[in-house]
């Protein structure tokens, strides 16, 4: 189980103040669960994903907080330990997959590189395993002999998923895995992913800007805005409309995911400048329902029946109980 507590990421810039891309985020990803993480471009969701897997550039980013995988603290772990743990416990699938493969190595070799980094395998066994995994993602075994440029975007994405499974990790973080693909391919991959997750019993943190897509596959969805998770709710609740005005607005953008009709309602305004301290609710300037406290105090995180939310409006109306500080 992945447990994230008060995670903060500051980007250093050449000029002026650091930008706080992730502002004290806490959440958990339980075993065998499929969790979605959604938000607009620039909201910090990918940064969050990278921070969890400790892939951010140490020199340019300050990361603080706690990230624990099955009780082991990732952020302070030694490099050697971390390297061992990577991929065998926590794997990642990158956006688009276009550049996620070394262009000069065959697919097979890239699989083998990972396996060799984590143990001794006989070539024959490795080939067998790769073939099996490729079949799992509904690809031909022969694909292992191909170079990345010889594959289509959808194929590459499948290979990326197969690659993430090679050491049977407990958690897979998928960062916009389908963004560059067309809708049909996207659907096929998402379905396959869901199927794999159910069969192989790993956990998934699925990062995407496409709330509609996430709602279809995830059990639980976290909505991120301006570096913070503003709503963390079960998919069922969100499908009914959610509680946070931002979530609602996002849902409106995509229309009713269950209906054929798509209404595009843009959200006016732009996210705040994160190099300045945020006073009050970050979404307040764009929120149609904002009232006095919104611009003054940061809304506390309160529990809902199936999740949590940060919104004065909700607290006022439901009087939910605070979590944490």
């Amino acid at each position: 189980m992945l447990e994230v507590k008060d995670l903060r990421v500051n980007y250093k810039t050449q000029h002026g103040r650091p930008v706080t891309a992730v502002r004290g985020v806490s959440f958990t990803v339980p075993d065998h669960s499929f969790v979605g993480l959604v938000g607009e471009s620039g909201c910090g969701k990918s940064t969050l994903g990278f921070a969890i897997s400790r892939l951010l550039n140490v020199k340019r980013n300050e990361v603080s907080g706690y990230v624990q995988l099955n009780g082991k603290e990732l952020l302070t772990m030694s490099d050697r330990e971390l390297r061992k743990l990577r991929w065998s416990k926590i794997a990642i699938v990158l956006q688009g997959g276009m550049n996620a493969f070394n262009p000069v190595l065959k697919i097979k070799q890239q699989f083998m590189d990972v396996m060799r980094a984590h143990g001794k395998f006989r070539v024959q066994d490795m080939v067998e395993r790769i073939g099996y995994l490729l079949e799992q993602v509904k690809l031909d075994r022969e694909v292992m002999e191909a170079y990345p440029h010889e594959l289509s975007g959808g194929m590459k994405q499948r290979v990326a998923i197969a690659l993430s499974l090679v050491l049977e990790p407990e958690l897979i973080i998928l960062d916009e895995p389908t963004t560059a693909l067309d809708v049909v391919v996207q659907r096929a991959i998402v379905d396959m992913l869901q199927d794999l997750q159910r069969r192989m019993k790993f956990s998934v943190l699925f990062i995407s800007h496409d709330l509609g897509l996430v709602l279809e596959v995830a059990q639980r969805v976290m909505v991120m805005y301006a570096g913070d998770i503003i709503e963390d709710e079960s998919a069922d609740v969100l499908l009914k409309g959610g509680n946070h005005p931002y979530t609602k607005a996002l849902l409106n953008c995509y229309g009713d995911p269950q209906s054929e009709e798509v209404r595009l309602v843009g959200i006016p305004g732009a996210p705040p400048d994160l190099s300045q301290p945020v006073v009050g609710c970050a979404f307040a300037p764009r929120c149609a329902d904002a009232f006095a406290p919104c611009t003054l105090h940061q809304p506390p995180r309160v529990k809902t029946e199936t999740g949590s939310i940060c919104c004065h409006l909700y607290t006022e109306m439901k009087g939910g109980s605070k979590i944490g500080n």
């Binding site: 980007y11 250093k12 810039t13 050449q14 000029h15 930008v19 891309a21 471009s41 620039g42 909201c43 910090g44 969701k45 990918s46 940064t47 550039n57 020199k59 340019r60 956006q95 550049n99």
Partner: protein, 304 residues
């Protein structure tokens, strides 16, 4: 030369994207450049050389026409860098020489970049057979070894002077810039706003100059500086071989005179050392500025 990476980043969340946006639109490009330590060294050095070219003649200890000093002197208090075989003060020559060296470098660089822009833009914008032909031409010129080609052309030139040197360098030097600007143009024409402008029926010239050019400025400047470096070094090489006009005073002709007057034999190390250092310094200054431009334009090179 450094291969110019693409402007776009794959990590949307990274703030560097915002920086890149600033590069494109923010007028404070120079202040960003200044923030880069290497670029800062480069800019300071460059300012120094420009100051030398502008004010050199005013601060020079003697007049350039003054040829009545004892000849072939080694450095002394009176002549910091010694005197030449014809009784001129080496320091004075060095200060005056900055003008010609910078002039040749920057004029040749400007011509080179103009040709490169023209050919690169035409090839990249129009594509098709025009692109094929121009690309072939550029590749051919690129693989022909530059200096031997310059020597061959210069050898047949009836006379030698600044004009001829600039001409030779312009003929042979534009292909590198042309190729990289073409590549840049190729990615630019696929940008949405360019496609939109095309559909809106804007004329190619307008699209190139109003829509595309501003977004390519950092490339053009980098290529220009690269061309200047090439021109400064090539000028020195041609002058050294006696293919320039030795009656003018530039850093290249200074080395030419120093070696043809056996400066080494008479122990006048300063006469050889100083102009070479100036050439290297000028070229290095431009390279440093280019590092800075690169770093500002290319997020991956940042944060050093």
């Amino acid at each position: 030369m450094v291969d110019k990476p693409s402007l776009t980043s794959h990590h949307e969340d990274s703030t560097s994207v915002q920086l890149t946006e600033k590069v494109r639109k923010n007028p404070h490009f120079l202040s960003l450049l200044w923030a880069n330590p290497k670029a800062r060294i480069g800019i300071i050095m460059l300012c120094f050389f420009f100051a030398m070219a502008i004010f050199g003649p005013f601060v020079a200890p003697y007049s350039l026409a003054d040829t009545n000093f004892p000849t072939s002197q080694t450095p002394s208090i009176v002549h910091w860098l010694g005197t030449t075989q014809s009784g001129q003060d080496v320091l004075t020559e060095l200060l005056y020489g900055a003008r010609i060296s910078l002039f040749v470098g920057f004029v040749a660089g400007a011509i080179v970049i103009l040709i490169a822009m023209f050919v690169g833009f035409v090839a990249g914008y129009f594509g098709g057979w025009i692109d094929d032909m121009l690309s072939l031409l550029m590749n051919v010129i690129l693989v022909l070894p530059g200096l031997p080609l310059m020597i061959l052309i210069a050898a047949y030139m009836p006379s030698h002077g600044i004009g001829e040197i600039i001409l030779v360098m312009s003929i042979t030097g534009w292909a590198f810039g042309g190729r990289s600007l073409r590549a840049q143009m190729l990615t630019m024409v696929q940008q949405d706003y360019v496609i939109a402008a095309k559909f809106a029926g804007e004329r190619p010239l307008r699209i190139i100059f109003y829509e595309i050019l501003p977004n390519m400025l950092s490339y053009i400047v980098a290529n220009f500086f690269g061309a200047v470096v090439g021109a400064v070094l090539a000028e020195a090489g041609l002058e050294f071989l006696g293919l320039g006009n030795p009656s003018i005073t530039s850093w290249g002709t200074m080395i030419y005179w120093a070696q043809s007057s056996d400066a080494m034999l008479s122990g006048q190390w300063a006469w050889i050392l100083a102009p070479g250092l100036c050439i290297a310094g000028l070229a290095a200054a431009l390279t440093f500025v280019n590092f800075g431009i690169d770093a500002v334009a290319n997020p991956r090179l940042q944060g050093e």
